[in-house]
């Protein structure tokens, strides 16, 4: 009887405010991120796909389907192959240097010493400074007449008094120069990432290794590097993505020259599509970046997950 009586009493149900409703809150908080990715990543990507199968130019952005014609002509162009080779050399060499230098710098900055905060700040400067400004600064350093590099090398008798290396004008020197600037720019990021990873290793592990008899190299190779591998892969992934897609350093310093010896895919796509006006051709070249970057991202993330041990 009581149960029946209770059934009749309908308690008023208070509706939660939307801010307290986790579902609504989740949607509201996710919306900006989805909007951002959709507008600034998804839409341009679809636009690139669209242009790459059309014959759109800067002057005539009407869609006229041409199939894979743009990809065919890119593949048949020897400059494309040179740019692809340069992209790989530029990325692999600079990232190898970045990871090694980043690890070394992180080790140097790990232990406290007088002035460490200042040194950390200085090391980070190349990363926080605008890339184009930094690159313009390097343009002066590499100046064929007033280069400070020439002065120093001459003073140290590394080059003769009559040697005038044209840093950005000789094929191999030009590639070495743009790699140097890219390393200068990206090493700070790797340093900071690796430093964070090093701080995450408990001091007890280092103490245990010291007591267990590990010297510098055993400690580095058997303890430090394996434990840092996931974090170093993250640093490498960032570096590869930033390097493979970047054209600012090359645009400012060499414009891809001399004779396309520093031309990379990103700069070639820019020169073809924007400066050359061939939107469709530029889009097709730019799309060649995508499979490489996707493969690198998937590979690095998989490895990082597998290496997660702590």
């Amino acid at each position: 009887m009581d149960a029946i009586a209770l059934d009749r009493v309908r308690p008023r149900r208070a509706a939660p405010r939307w801010r307290d409703d986790p579902q609504a809150l989740a949607r509201a908080l996710l919306a900006p991120a989805i909007l951002y990715i959709g507008l600034l990543v998804g839409f341009p990507f679809l636009l690139a796909l669209y242009y790459s199968v059309s014959d759109a130019t800067v002057g005539a952005r009407v869609f006229h389907f041409v199939g894979l014609e743009n990809f065919r002509s890119a593949i048949e162009n020897p400059t494309f192959w040179q740019a692809l080779r340069n992209s790989i050399v530029f990325t692999v060499v600079s990232q190898a240097l970045v990871v090694v230098l980043g690890k070394a710098a992180a080790m140097a900055l790990y232990r406290p010493f007088r002035g460490r905060a200042l040194v950390r700040f200085l090391i980070l400067l190349p990363w926080v400074a605008p890339i184009s400004l930094g690159a313009i600064g390097w343009l002066w350093i590499f100046d064929p007449v007033y280069s400070i590099l020439d002065w120093v090398a001459r003073a140290l008798h590394l080059i003769g008094p009559d040697a005038w290396p044209i840093w950005l004008g000789q094929p191999h020197l030009a590639m070495a120069s743009v790699i140097l600037v890219n390393v200068w720019r990206l090493a700070p990021l790797a340093t900071v990432i690796i430093l964070a990873g090093m701080s995450a290793i408990p001091q007890d592990i280092h103490d245990a290794a010291a007591i267990d008899g590990a010297g510098f190299w055993r400690h580095l190779i058997r303890i430090n590097l394996p434990l840092l591998m996931p974090v170093m892969l993250v640093a490498l992934l960032f570096g590869v993505v930033f390097t493979f897609t970047d054209m600012i350093v090359i645009f400012v310093l060499t414009r891809g020259g001399p004779y396309d010896t520093t031309q990379v895919l990103a700069s070639l796509a820019f020169f073809t599509g924007v400066q050359g006006g061939d939107l469709a051709g530029g889009a097709a070249i730019a799309l060649f970046l995508f499979p490489v970057l996707a493969a690198v991202a998937i590979g690095a993330l998989t490895l990082a997950r597998r290496a997660e041990v702590v």
Binding site: P202, D204, I205, G213
Partner: protein, 378 residues
């Protein structure tokens, strides 16, 4: 019989770890061995000090650890016990003073040149290496290779039941298993001294009692000199051949658990050891210390025993099952200082709040301390 710390016959080739079957033979007790053991100190700290930015963490501590001994460094947090242990290990550089191992000054040597082993509170197992590789690590660092390496790791693992775990990674082990791996990794190299920094504090209470017993048994079997740091007086009493009590960087007393408990050198040791701690009563010219369980009814003493009457006004009684605790104050003719009385449940006499109880203590159980310095006065 083999004295602890002495190598058993054929030890040069074989690890000093005794397999389970042999270990079931009665292990030599520390107490027996002390008389015939090498009187020379195995580990010695000489006026060892360490200061961190004007704060003195360890102040001129001199301490000798005997061969095969299990010494416990006991003190509250911040007493400098871990710093002292880390200086012996070589992980901290002393500000002054020396560390001696086997009679040689090792103060300037790196940890790896000291042949010490250490078990950390976190165990500090290498997370990316298997149990086998964890145990092999100190051996590889000493240049042991190939079949010799494999045999030593397997022998040590077998002796402590770790064989089924050898291929696992540390994260796949339980807390107790991790602790055993850390111990085996420490002793597989046959260290001169085994240093333990609160190795049981990460285990839950249930496991800790078992692990404590295992650890003591472990050290007896291996016979290695051990220095054990803890803030837990129960652990210290249960494990230590001797206990060194530290407070604010200074060594207060070194002695057997019995000496530390029955004959505290000062009021710090008296009140730090024991739960509840020793009662301190202000009298003319001295502080009088008496343990809560030593305050008993008249009937518990023989007629001829020299005893002192200590009447207590009971304020509050706690019933704890095995014990009753009474909190109150001393009564005339004594100053009305707070005292705690602890009676085991075997004492049937009534203990009621508000009553004045005529209690007594043996004169030998009354300890006198200098009220100025806190040191024992005779």
């Amino acid at each position: 019989m083999i004295a602890p710390g002495q190598a058993p016959p054929g030890a040069a080739e074989r690890p000093r770890i005794v397999p389970r079957a042999e270990a079931s033979a009665p292990a030599p007790r520390r107490g027996d061995a002390r008389a015939d053991a090498d009187p020379a100190a195995k580990i010695e700290a000489r006026a060892l000090s360490k200061g961190f930015a004007e704060v003195s963490a360890v102040a001129a501590v001199s301490l000798a650890v005997r061969n095969g001994e299990f010494l416990v460094l006991l003190g509250p947090s911040g007493s400098g016990k871990s710093t002292l242990l880390r200086m012996i290990a070589g992980l901290e550089t002393p500000s002054s003073g020396d560390v001696l191992i086997d009679g040689a000054v090792v103060t300037d040597l790196a940890p790896r040149s000291r042949n010490v082993a250490m078990v950390f509170q976190s165990y500090a197992l290498y997370p990316h290496l298997t149990v086998f590789e964890n145990i092999a690590f100190p051996l590889r660092a000493r240049g042991v290779r190939g079949r010799a390496l494999e045999r030593r790791v397997l022998d040590a693992s077998a002796a402590f039941g770790l064989e089924p775990l050898l291929r696992r990674k540390p994260r796949q082990l339980s807390g107790g298993e991790r602790q055993r791996v850390a111990l085996v990794r420490a002793i597989v190299r046959e260290p001169t001294v085994l240093l333990l920094d609160e190795p049981l504090s990460n285990l839950d209470a249930q496991l800790r009692a078992t692990a404590r017993e295992e650890l003591r048994e472990f050290q007896r079997r291996v016979g290695t000199t051990a220095i054990y740091v803890t803030h837990d007086q129960v652990e210290a009493m249960a494990l230590g051949d001797r206990i060194a009590v530290l407070d604010r960087g200074a060594l207060r007393q070194v002695g057997s658990p019995h000496e530390i408990y029955e004959d505290p050198a000062d009021t710090f040791v008296a009140t730090f050891i024991g739960s509840p701690p020793m009662n301190l009563v202000r009298t003319a010219g001295a502080l009088l210390g008496v343990r809560p369980e030593h305050l008993l009814p008249r009937t518990h003493f023989a007629a001829a025993e020299p005893i002192t009457a200590l009447p207590v006004r009971v304020g509050r009684v706690e019933y704890l099952g095995a014990d009753r605790l009474a909190y109150g104050t001393l009564d005339d003719p004594w100053p009305h200082d707070p005292v705690v009385v602890r009676w085991p449940s075997t004492i049937a006499a009534a203990l009621r709040a508000g009553e004045r109880q005529q209690l007594f203590a043996r004169d030998t159980d009354l300890k006198r301390f200098d009220p100025g310095t806190g040191r024992r006065a005779q």
